[in-house]
Symmetry: C2
Subunit: 385 residues, 2 copies
């Protein structure tokens, strides 16, 4: 097993990118990453995508993006695990390089959601849940998360306004990220009077429908050391699963896959939650931020929203999260999100986060969640000398 | 890098399986494979699937099948590369085990095609081609293959009846395979008067629309050696890509990704085409059998159909292909096909192919093709002492 390190990153701005096709988005992010890494082409490309087959009539995206990137002939495939596709593609790539069977791998998360109607998008997103026992009965993805949030509010007696701290922090951090979709701060008052999407989830509790692509190039550690830039080492790569259907869980607030993948990751890296300088959380919904923080050991059950309110997760807090705007402020192109989370973390570890830089960030973690917590991928990365 | 070996296989019969859902098909094949391997559960599951998001409203299939198999909590993801999904998922699994980051991996190819209308299936299959430059213009997948076959017939002056040998051989071999969809031999006369699907591709030049699942469990070599059964070692795992769109190729008959992945595989294993005892070819269409055999170095360009006619690819020939019926006779549940090819090869190498056993089969190869040759995965497996 070889140590693996990041040698390049790239991303497109996130938004309603009607002038760019799927292949163009992917190639744009990859070309930036290849330029950053100083490589001509990788040995293999792993594309993370969830919706192209439905929303763009396009499967076989790995090969299409490889070809359009000018890399005809290399290995290519698509990895999918709903909204955890990005983290999962990165895990597959890390292991491929660690195996010694290939040297340089590229990971590209790409999603194009905004070309279709809202009804089509909502229905496509529902494929992340159990089609026969959830989707077929009209449970949209927001509705499922609303059930979890309502249960959390009941169980732990947390009033809705307390969750606002997650949204306010994410939008604040998006202001200085040129690639973010919403570069505008919001206040508690704006959060409190936002329209409901699926009660109790309001507009700011949700992340937007959007397009975007992010890319990462990885290589064996010894190759990364030869480059003249900060070496970002992959310290841990762990994933775990839970039931796909929410109703099958005995403890819907426990997010067991998040807890289990975090435990495995801490063990791999030999670190504790308290060691983390940055945590890119999967804040697709406010409730998911809370559950992920609690499952990963950063907060006791029922306390994360209050910690958010106390400022603990702000850039100047104890554990900065969503540092470049998160899924809410930066955007959530679903299949690409896990790669964006990693790119944001790498940006922090390299010290290239500009006005949002977390001072002294050396060790950080991402948690990428698919479905209502059915698949969770945890990565721990570290800047090394 | 650790050596990797197969420790278990399983499969469902292929057909129009209206009484079995996607999750049931997958779990059935996996449970057989786990029983065969003598394991309770793997560390990770890699599901190969192409069409579930469109035809069954179900993404996130890795986690769903893991849960339904009784393996809640393990790692799971879906790997897609159109009809090469199965081979690609196996490659990803092999590297994951080779990396040392996990020990036991399960691969499950599963596809459920027959619940929808032919129009919906045809349109879903077209997502394997270039959506913007092929699919959008109404080029079905059979139509694209028809263009290639017509070009081949023109270029090499091969009359249509010569291709019949591929279909006759595949159907003959399917007769003794209890899992095959069509267990009925056909004659040259039946082939010659078959109705056209897309001229010059007739009914028997094509593989059927069907449902099915196949599974393989792999582990490090040292673990496989401790089991009391033939050890099937993965000697080579190589893949390569070409342009997605047929019109972008300078030599549409060269199948460059097949040639390149075969070359890499031979180099990894240190073998030659002439060493191969069995070759599970991707005979989705007769023309693909010819192109794959020629690209992989088993026949000179323009000669494979004549070699088929001479009996070279029959069970008693020099290089038996489609030994359990191939995609034509056994069936072609698209995302699962690459795994079925491997299961058929492993069955031969284990000496468990019954009436279809290739005597002394010790070294064999599979080639799994996505799109019109856009992604090709080549595996070489060997029975070792």
């Amino acid at each position: 097993m070889r140590d693996v390190a990041v040698i390049g990153i790239g991303q497109t701005p996130i938004g309603e990118l009607w002038d760019l096709s799927l292949r163009e988005l992917g190639a744009n992010a990859l070309q930036q990453a290849a330029l950053d890494a100083g490589i001509e082409k990788p040995d293999a490309l792993f594309v993370a995508n969830m919706l192209a087959t439905r929303l763009s009539n396009q499967a076989h995206l790995g090969t299409l993006v490889a070809d359009y990137s000018g890399w005809r002939g290399i290995e290519a495939s698509t990895v999918e695990a709903a909204c955890a596709s990005g983290g999962m593609a990165f895990q597959v790539a890390v292991r491929s390089v660690a195996s010694g069977m290939i040297d340089v791998a590229a990971v590209c998360g790409v999603e194009k959601m905004t070309d279709e109607t809202t009804a089509q998008i909502t229905s496509a997103l529902a494929t992340a849940s159990d089609a026969d026992f959830e989707g077929a009965h009209g449970a949209s993805f927001v509705a499922l998360n609303a059930l979890i949030m309502r249960r959390y509010m009941h169980e732990y007696k947390v009033p809705h306004p307390v969750f606002g701290a997650f949204s306010i922090n994410a939008h604040q951090n998006a202001v200085n990220n040129p690639n973010a979709m919403f570069r505008k701060a919001i206040s508690q008052a704006i959060y409190d009077r936002a329209p409901m999407i699926a009660d109790p989830i309001n507009l700011y509790d949700s992340s937007p429908i959007c397009d975007g692509a992010a890319a990462i190039i990885i290589a064996p550690m010894e190759m990364a050391r030869r480059l003249n830039k900060p070496v970002i080492r992959v310290r841990a790569s762990a994933s775990a699963t839970d039931t796909l259907a929410l109703a099958d869980r005995t403890q819907p607030l426990a997010l067991e896959a998040a807890a289990s993948s975090a435990r495995k990751a801490y063990a791999q890296a030999g670190v504790q939650p308290a060691d983390m300088d940055v945590f890119e959380v999967h804040d697709a919904f406010s409730i998911m931020s809370a559950l992920s923080l609690e499952a990963a050991g950063f907060a006791a059950p029922g306390t994360a929203p209050y910690r958010a309110q106390d400022g603990e997760y702000r850039l100047d807090g104890k554990l900065p999260i969503s540092t470049m705007g998160g899924l809410k402020g930066r955007g959530h192109p679903v299949g690409a999100t896990g790669v964006y989370e990693l790119v944001d973390l790498i940006t922090q570890l390299r010290g290239e986060a500009g006005l949002n830089q977390v001072q002294g960030a050396a060790l950080g973690m991402t948690q990428n969640i698919g479905g209502t917590g059915a698949t969770v991928v945890t990565h721990i990365l570290e800047r090394t000398a």
